[in-house]
């Protein structure tokens, strides 16, 4: 009681002051109002209402049982697969597998009915009398505290922890060393990528291979307004590390009228209007190929970064921080499109050491 008085004086001096115009507070402003008088539910006083509620709860549980039997029955009766007879049209779900629908519905109903029955039981029949359970004080009693400190002092004295310094120091040293083994294990997170992010599979003289036909391409194959995906010569989809390689080396080939190319340096990196760009967004590395052939824009579906392929892959919208890297291409002696080297800039998203 004393602490409560101190607090109200500390925080509300005006309430106890005699300043004119202040609202006077009568008695204790923080008095516990207690619980309102308990009101009975109908089921508490009417035996018929209680019996009806009991039947309702039992109905929920019975419904759950029926649904579980329905689940087992549909598992036995219905077959999976797209054959006719296995699907059924249900508005508004559309054409749907009979098996999936019945399994999901029956399992859902059997679980929901148990929960609904339990809630209805608690709300109508279980006791709803209000009770107040006071919190226990957290602090231990003075006797217990005294005892704990005494025990600790005795233990420290008997172990000789303060006297035998050799034991103490070596023990601290041993305990400090143990975490080092965990630190050493971090080595397995490596090795560091080194220069792997800076280079791709493209190299001088590697021909561009069409992803659809798996054949090298000539410049005349790429018509104005078309879009073609290519991979470096020698990279096969059956390769063990194909995904790793193509994740950096994927490119798209477009062709525009040479007059439409705004960036002349970029035009020079292509061949007669055929331009080759990385397919990996420079924001977080999503594959982008939503190419609009009239505007020459490429849109990234992840965060709407937009690149202008007629202007050196410049970012014209969105969060990407670097232009789309362009691959320098030409035709070789046999007329096939080939790379004149690797990308001059790292492909994909930025990283710490990116130049």
């Amino acid at each position: 009681m004393t602490s409560q008085d101190n607090m109200s004086e500390e925080h509300l001096p005006e309430a106890h002051g005699a300043h004119g115009g202040e609202l006077a507070v009568h008695g204790d402003a923080f008095a516990d109002p207690g619980l309102p008088p308990h009101e009975h539910r109908r089921t508490d006083i009417d035996e018929h209402a209680a019996a009806r509620a009991e039947r309702q709860v039992a109905m929920w549980f019975l419904l759950s049982m029926v649904a579980t039997i329905g689940f087992i029955a549909s598992y036995v009766l219905f077959k999976p697969g797209p054959e006719t007879g296995n699907t059924v049209y249900i508005f508004p779900l559309g054409h749907i597998s009979r098996l999936n629908f019945s399994l999901g519905m029956t399992l859902g109903v059997s679980l929901f009915a148990i929960g609904a029955g339990a809630v209805h039981w608690a709300r109508t029949l279980m006791s709803d009398e209000e009770h107040i359970a006071e919190r226990h004080p957290i602090e231990a009693t003075p006797e217990v505290r005294e005892q704990v400190f005494a025990d600790f002092r005795q233990g420290a004295k008997e172990s000789g922890f303060g006297r035998r310094k050799l034991i103490r120091n070596t023990m601290i040293g041993a305990m400090a060393m143990v975490p080092l083994s965990a630190v050493v294990l971090f080595r397995d997170l490596g090795p560091l990528p080194e220069k792997k992010l800076d280079s791709t599979e493209w190299a001088k003289g590697k021909r561009l291979v069409n992803m659809n036909t798996n054949e090298p391409m000539k410049a005349s194959d790429i018509t104005v307004g078309s879009l073609t995906f290519a991979k470096p010569e020698g990279v096969e989809e059956s390769d063990e590390n194909f995904q790793e390689v193509i994740a950096k080396a994927a490119v798209m080939l477009v062709r525009m009228q040479p007059g439409d190319i705004k960036d002349k340096a970029s035009a020079g990196w292509g061949y007669e209007g055929v331009l080759c760009y990385s397919k990996i967004c420079t924001h977080v590395g999503c594959p982008i190929s939503l190419y609009e052939q009239q505007t020459h824009h490429v849109l990234c579906p992840c965060h709407q970064s937009t690149f202008d392929l007629s202007d050196g892959g410049r970012v014209i919208f969105g969060p990407a921080g670097h232009p789309l890297p362009q691959l320098q291409i030409s035709v070789n002696g046999d007329g096939y499109l080939e790379a004149l080297g690797d990308f001059s800039k790292p492909v994909g998203p930025g990283f710490w050491e990116r130049s």
């Binding site: 009101e39 009975h40 539910r41 109908r42 508490d44 006083i45 009417d46 999976p80 797209p82 006719t84 699907t87 249900i90 508004p92 779900l93 559309g94 054409h95 749907i96 597998s97 999936n100 629908f101 999901g104 809630v119 709300r123 109508t124 709803d128 069409n210 992803m211 659809n212 036909t213 391409m217 005349s220 194959d221 790429i222 018509t223 307004g225 078309s226 879009l227 073609t228 995906f229 477009v254 594959p287 982008i288 190929s289 939503l290 190419y291 609009e292 052939q293 009239q294 505007t295 824009h297 849109l299 579906p301 709407q304 937009t306 919208f317």
Partner: protein, 268 residues
């Protein structure tokens, strides 16, 4: 012979010789000239002629009288008959109003009129021609088509062919219910902002495979949605919206019911 030679200086002799020569050459031509092709030539030129008239009425206000284009419509020189068959055959052309993208709508020309328009536009410059039924109706490999679809088409048209948004109001339309011919023509010509996939980079067989995949995957009888309620098969946007609004709404409703004050016997 003597009689003939005696009259060779007759005033009408030159006329008779001329008529004879004309009749001979004309007869020989009629006998040897390939009659069928002559007829076809005239019917094709008739088709072009008809198409030119239709074009002048329906198209020239934007594409100019001889298809060279204005600021309202691009040049049609070299777009080919396949392009016309797709644009007019799906109702995209004639366009209702300018905008980010011209949508498909009710077709207003008959197929004969479309063929005439196509013949006229094809005569303006060489371009891809309308594919034959053997080209687009051949059975394709659905599995291979799925691979090709995911490589070339799915980035815009979605994995289920239900389409998706592009920049500044443009969009990739749904492929549900698009005929094999129009699918083939779209890949061949690259309508509006869609890039083209010419035979040189996506072969005829590749296109047939893609058509087989699209027609199977958009057909609910052959490819039912086992879970139901596809929400347009548009991916996380519609699914998230549905989950947040309806599923979470139902959970909130149940939570309110659990915690609601039980009705009391006596009205307070």
């Amino acid at each position: 012979m003597k009689k003939l030679s005696a009259r060779r200086r007759h005033p009408l002799a030159a006329l008779v010789v001329l008529l004879f020569a004309l009749a001979t050459t004309g007869g020989l031509y009629a006998a040897f000239a390939p009659a069928g092709s002559a007829q076809a030539d005239s019917s094709q030129s008739l088709q072009i002629e008809q198409g030119k008239k239709l074009f002048a009425v329906g198209c020239s206000s934007c594409h100019a009288l001889s298809g060279e284009g204005t600021k309202d419509g691009p040049s049609l020189v070299g777009v080919g008959s396949a392009s016309v068959d797709f644009q007019v055959g799906t109702g995209r052309m004639p366009a209702q109003q300018p905008g980010a993208q011209v949508p498909a709508k009710k077709v207003i020309y008959t197929q004969d009129e479309i063929n005439e328009l196509a013949a006229y536009v094809a005569s303006l410059g060489a371009g891809p021609s309308i594919p034959t039924a053997e080209q687009y109706n051949a059975a394709g490999d659905v599995a291979k088509g799925g691979e090709l679809f995911r490589t070339n088409c799915a980035q815009c048209h979605n994995f289920a062919g239900s389409g998706g948004a592009l920049s500044e109001g443009k969009y990739a339309p749904s492929l549900d219910g698009v005929s094999a011919k129009h699918l083939y023509e779209a890949m061949l010509t690259g309508p509006q902002n869609m890039p083209s996939f010419p035979e040189s980079t996506l072969s005829q067989q590749n296109k047939q495979d893609i058509i087989a995949y699209v027609q199977r995957t958009t057909n609910p009888a052959k490819n039912p949605s086992y879970g139901g309620l596809t929400l347009g098969a548009l991916g996380p946007v519609t699914e998230g919206l549905f989950g947040w609004i309806f599923a979470l709404g139902a959970l909130i409703g149940i939570a309110i019911w659990i915690a609601a004050r039980t009705p009391k016997a006596k009205k307070s």
